[in-house]
Symmetry: C2
Subunit: 136 residues, 2 copies
């Protein structure tokens, strides 16, 4: 039990086209998905950076989670997502360990992923996302 590794780093941006171009130019990133997801209040781009992944998040308005984050802290790192083999089992384990969860059950994330967020209170200030491997 535990995480398989970092699935992606989530980064809040204020200009998605420019951020994509910057990651392509500086780090050799390549876009794998890009979509407007009104239900989650973002336009998002998932980028491969070598064998890792960075998710760029543009708020669709100020009253969205990412919009409020950017208003408070500016663009920058927003969350880290860890891949897990069995998301429901990991959530049960974290609940039993007393960790404060934002999502008690897996829910639909971006790009077809099954995800759940752990509260920054549980991790020392880091918003952590768990991503199921498809079985969860």
């Amino acid at each position: 039990m535990g995480a398989l590794g970092i699935h992606h780093l989530g980064v809040a941006v204020d200009d998605l086209d420019r951020a994509v171009e910057t990651y392509e130019r500086l780090f050799g990133a390549a876009v794998e998905h890009r979509a407007v997801v009104p239900a989650q209040g973002v336009e998002a781009a998932s980028l491969r950076v070598g064998d890792s992944r960075v998710e760029l998040l543009l708020a669709l308005g100020p009253e969205t989670p990412v919009g409020r984050f950017v208003a408070r802290r500016g663009p920058g790192m927003h969350h880290v997502a860890f891949a897990v083999a069995d998301l429901p089992a990991e959530l049960a384990r974290l609940r039993a360990a007393g960790a404060e969860l934002i999502d008690d059950e897996p829910r639909a994330g971006l790009f077809g992923l099954q995800v759940a967020f752990v509260h920054p209170e549980a991790t020392g200030g880091v918003l952590a996302e768990l991503v199921g491997d498809g079985r969860g």
Copy 2:
């Protein structure tokens, strides 16, 4: 050219023992290195989390880079490090691309790594570190 992937996520903490225990308990992390590094103003622990790595950073005082970060923003994600095959060549490429660098040349980082930091101004608010693979 470009990054090989995420080498580690750097996280500023205000209690290193507690943070290590939290990452072990929640994410199955395992400490691979831990050291006090006065020259860099931190006590640091490098943790394996599955096939990824998280670096926990405790400031040795308020007038250190991590101490000032925590005073301003609280504990949380501090930087992301990307592995590169040839650090001097990547730095030359980034300079040519007009990216603002904190370190123009590779320098000694934590745990024997050769590193250089890219200014958050160049990346849309993300402090990015490049880590050489040992040849750099």
